[in-house]
Amino acid sequence: MKTLKLKQAIIAAVVGTQFVLPVFAAESAATGTNGTAVVEIPAFAADGGSPAQEAEIKALKQQVEALVEKVSALEQQRAPAEQAATIQNLDQQVRILQRQREIDQDTATAKAATVPKVTLGANGFSFSSADSNFVAQLHAVLQFDSRSFIHDNNAKGVDGFLLRRARPILSGTVARDFEYNFTPDFGGSQVQIFDAYTIYHGAPWFQVEAGKFKPPVGLEALQADVNLSFNERSLATDLVPNRDLGLALKGDLHGGVASYVVGIFNGASDYNSTVTNSYAQNNKSVDARLFFQPWKNSDVNALRGFGFGAGGSFENDNPATNSTTGLTPGYTTDGQQKFFSYNKNVYADGVHWRLSPQAYYYYGPFGLLGEYAISDQHVSNDSAGGSKNVDVHNTAWEIAGSWLLTGEDASYSGITPRENFDPRLNQWGAWQVVARYAELNVDDDVFKGSNFNTSLASPKASADSAQAWALGLNWYLNKNVRANVSFSHTTFGGYTGSRTGVPAQAENVLFTRIQLAF
């Protein structure tokens, strides 16, 4: 409208007083559909007059039309320049807003990077500093078991429920490189500290671990409790230490193709934990393990899950320090019943070494784990005329296989179901069948001697061997919840006593477990 007025004003100025345009009175009517001005000529000018006047008017009309055309052309030339300036201005505004948004996002990202993180998921509850240098994680393991002893004449093996493990686990890192773990156990009849250690991670190949943790000997013993195939570890694990206090150097080489651990420990007896969190003797045990997974990082899928190695320990038990220490409290069955123990007054007396060649193989749903264990210990009977410094050479072995019926990948470090249990979606988790055979043989020299005072162990109280097979079915509802049932049958050799129950008769146990771990 403003443009139109300008145009009309120019025309009026040019035409002057020769005729009058009803510019402002007919503003809307003066605009054609194409936006050009329509000039209204007053009636008196067209109705008559001399031919000269008419000619003059005609000439003036032509002049006006020509001017209108010129003005229109000028306006058309000016409009794009104005529009371009406006567009450029708008473009700058948009660019500024976009850039401001980018900067705000960068600022928000930078700020988020300084805010501590809290996460809760399948891997537990975690607090972390913004740079992840300080992490505190809360995990838990709860194992609710039942054991039913079958055909035991009600003599041994109490049927019932038990809280096998109830462990809150506090773990994490401080100052980026220092890992820590504190794991008490409320599952047994007394509260114990199972793990309490710190690991300095200097490099993948250079780590230093100190505190209470698993000595590097047995393969099954080193497997996490929550990932075991059966409720209880096998007879082979009876011959290796459970947990001990010590200092170890360890690491992975070539991306985990080889791993090593070497450490010095107080020296725990066979399948026994250091309970007191203190020391019992001057001499220490050196434990070490080498393990290889040659194809771990290769493209050969069938061999990636193959690993082999050996763990061992060496110590020189000194009876002068404490004559009651250094010996196992006994070897137990799958049902945790004792079938072998040394006589009273028998103590460790000299060198004790262990060796455990070991291997596993996992490929697709199939898993196989085997190990052999030797525990060779010098033992004496303190009684007058008792056997002295006898080299006791106990051996055990196991082989355990597993198959995931639902096709997941088997692993030493746990199973992750393809589908979590959810009956509403017709999803049933992962199912696995497991089987195991194990033996333990006690050195015959242990039983030499005529009575309790001269022999190291009595055949009337202990068996000299045990053989156990077990079958089980494991149901992984999801990564955190698992239920399993298994049956274990154990037979014994060499027992000559008259008591009922183990080891006079075979042990048959039906296990169940509900496990929650996160």
């Binding site: 700058q92 850039r99 900067i103 960068d106 200097g202 490099a203 250079f206 150097l249 070497v262």
Partner: protein, 330 residues
């Protein structure tokens, strides 16, 4: 006891192997990426030839003030090469990671190269920007980073302030008014100099970028000389970006020797040549003469002359509640 000794030896062996891997972290300011990328390659060769050791140098870049704060907060820099001495002073006073007299340890107050602030304008200089007076005109859009976080932006601010003081017979109120007009023309404040270059050159915002001299030349190189022109104002400021070994970090990393050599090498002929090639004004007169064509003639004032040094300038202008906060909140 024997076992303990064996373990101790194993540990010592492992630690000694670890120490053979020399790593340095250089925490620097925004526009030095290209400079130190080239320089690190040269130094790695030099150090290999001199010591036989391989050294791996990592770079970290950002607004100078932010980078200093990161080091104070625990970023384990072996060396810092920041935009201004105040930021390294802050590391010294707040975190005590190096002594207060750190600037005396290397020549030229530990400033191996200098720079200044120039204008980068769009090709043909459509807004006719020739000096600071043009930058504060209505309708001129100015791109510069936030002086609270960017060293380069602080230098730019002070350069403009120095010009205004000189023009107004050191009338501080007039200078504040001038600087206030300047920041009214700034539509976006980036946190660092590189961000400002992105804003101006890539996002195509604004008519003029107040830039480090080297950053302006880099923009020509990166984006094409047919897109921008460099305009040198009648007066600017002598920017002196300093360098220092962060003693406590370097000691902890066992890198003090190599870190010191790393900085000393900046003063060598080769180090000075690399600086000049990257449009940092070298201290070495011969190298400066060789690369004179890289640098325009401009009258430079110093921060000591005009503002009484960095500590005073920081307190007056950039501290919370300082002049910048006052004029920017208007």
């Amino acid at each position: 006891m024997r076992t303990f000794l064996i373990l101790a030896l194993l540990l010592a062996f492992a630690v000694s192997i670890n120490a053979a891997e020399v790593k340095l972290l250089n925490v620097s300011y925004d526009p030095t990426r290209e400079l130190y990328s080239e320089y690190n390659t040269a130094f790695t060769k030099y150090w290999k030839a001199k010591s036989g050791d391989d050294v791996t140098i990592s770079q970290s870049h950002g607004g100078s003030g932010k980078q200093a704060q990161s080091v104070i907060n625990g970023l384990e820099a072996d060396v810092v090469t920041l935009a201004l001495a105040y930021d390294i002073d802050a590391i010294s006073t707040q975190a005590r990671l190096l002594p207060a007299d750190w600037q005396k340890r290397l020549p030229n107050d530990s400033t191996p190269y200098t720079s200044t602030i120039v204008f980068l304008v769009r090709k043909g200089n459509p807004k006719g920007i020739k000096d600071w007076d043009d930058v504060v005109k209505n309708g001129v859009s100015v791109v510069v980073a936030n002086p609270k976080t960017s060293g380069g932006a602080r230098w730019a601010y002070l350069a403009a302030y120095a010009y205004a003081l000189e023009k107004n017979n050191h009338d501080d109120a007039a200078a504040r008014d001038f600087i206030s007009k300047l920041y009214k023309n700034v539509p976006v404040l980036d946190s660092g100099a590189r961000g400002s270059t992105v804003t101006f050159a890539q996002r195509q915002i604004g008519d003029v970028l107040l830039a480090w001299e080297n950053e302006a030349h880099l923009a020509l190189k990166e984006f094409g000389a047919d897109k921008f022109d460099i305009v040198t104002p009648s007066l600017s400021i002598l920017a002196e970006p300093p360098v220092a070994v962060v003693d406590k970090n370097a000691n902890r990393h066992h890198t003090t020797e190599v870190a010191t050599e790393y900085l000393k090498f900046l003063y060598s002929d080769e180090g000075q040549e690399i600086s000049a090639k990257n449009f940092y004004r070298p201290r070495n007169a011969a190298v400066a003469a060789k690369y004179a064509a890289n640098f325009s003639q401009v009258r430079l004032v110093t921060i000591d002359q005009e503002f009484g040094g960095w500590t005073k300038a920081q307190q007056t202008h950039f501290a919370d509640g300082g002049v910048f906060d006052q004029i920017y909140q208007q």
